[in-house]
Amino acid sequence: MHELSVCQSLVDQVEQIALTHGAKSVELVKLRIGPLSGVEPLLLQHAYPFASAGTLAAESTLVIELVPIKVSCEACGTETEAEPGWLVCGACGSCHTTLVSGDEMMLMSVELIAAERTNHV
């Protein structure tokens, strides 16, 4: 259950970006989460309203894009999709693979509503 602390860290980051841009509020927050990040997207989604309450991100929508696990094989060079507990090469079965994607826990972008008196942020 560390999703709440991850979420608080996210909201802090988002609010800092909004303040830097002189925004009135935050409209949308986009994340990319992979199954090997250790963060459960559904729990993050549930925690978000609590973590963002009373901040510039209070009314914002959290959009989480799920990233598939992909591994690249050092033995045969093929890139295949994999499962969290099964990261061996899908083509040749070698366990000498490198993770290409699937451990992302990334804040991709935020959409901000400009403060009324500002025309441009």
Binding site: C95, M106, M108, E111
Partner: protein, 267 residues
């Protein structure tokens, strides 16, 4: 990539970065959700490197023998190295007392209800805990196979314990944790003859299925069995740490190395 000037936006991820809708302005960020923790962890690692010490994060389920391993390690290396321990638990000073009873400095972090240590808690502890003169600093994380894996504390290496009473499918059940390992120890191995459901070979196969090639060792800390390979690993890691510091280099534990590869792939 610097995360500030936009150079982290590549043809591969641009579509995620810019997509303005109805009057809102989109701002690309492309930063880890744990950026603040990671920045603090880098700072902690600088502290450790300044003191030329090796920082090891011990992670496992509760009761798999982290403190017992530390007690046995302190007994074995007492004349060789100066060791310090930072303990993480929800409540009590019990573990720190056990370590201090061995004559080694120990600082207890009580997390309250938090299920893991983070880089800020460790940094606060460092202010109360003199690092000068230490060779190895062990950070005994909160017993938990889930959350601690996500938080870099500034350690150089992750050591994960799996006691043979827990079941040999743990690496398959907790892939995020076991992927983070730089070394896996099967502990309480003296109990193996009594258990018909733990096969070290099967446990190792489950670890290899995570594309992990890290060393695996068996030991029984309370019986002082099988400690030599572990002590040799520590000696070798400390020598490598000294070599890195002398070269002005540093290293991060397993899972962060994975993230580094990922970001390289992004470029």
């Amino acid at each position: 990539m610097c995360d500030t000037c936009g150079c982290n936006i590549t043809p591969g991820n641009r579509e995620f970065a810019y997509k303005p809708v109805n009057g809102a302005t989109a701002v690309a960020v492309l930063k880890s959700l744990l950026a603040r923790n990671d920045d603090q962890a880098i700072h902690n690692r600088q502290h450790f490197d300044k003191h030329r010490l090796l920082a090891i994060n011990l992670m496992s389920s509760p009761g798999s023998g982290k403190t017992a391993l530390l007690e046995a390690t302190i007994d074995a290396l007492r004349d060789e190295y100066r060791i310090g321990v930072i303990e993480g638990d929800l409540e009590t000073e019990n573990d720190a007392k056990r370590i201090r009873a061995k004559g080694v400095p120990a600082y207890q972090i009580t997390t309250g209800s938090a299920c893991h240590l983070d880089a800020h808690m460790v940094h606060d502890a460092l202010h109360q805990f003199p690092l000068a003169g230490l060779d190895i600093l062990f950070i005994e994380n909160v017993g938990n196979l889930v959350c601690p894996a996500s938080f870099d504390l500034g350690q150089h290496r992750n050591v994960i314990l799996l006691s043979v009473t827990e079941g040999d499918d743990k690496p398959a059940k907790y892939p995020v944790m076991f992927r983070a390992a730089d070394l896996v120890l099967f502990t309480k191995s003296d109990l193996l003859p009594l258990l018909d459901d733990f096969s070290p070979a099967r446990a190792e196969a489950n670890l290899r299925n995570l594309a992990s090639t890290v060393p695996v060792m068996q030991l029984a800390a309370r019986k002082a069995l099988g400690l030599q390979p572990w002590l040799e690993w520590l000696r070798s890691e400390l020598a490598q740490q000294h070599a890195r510091v002398d070269q002005g280099e540093t290293t991060r534990s397993g899972i962060q190395a994975g993230v580094m590869r990922l970001h390289e792939a992004f470029r």
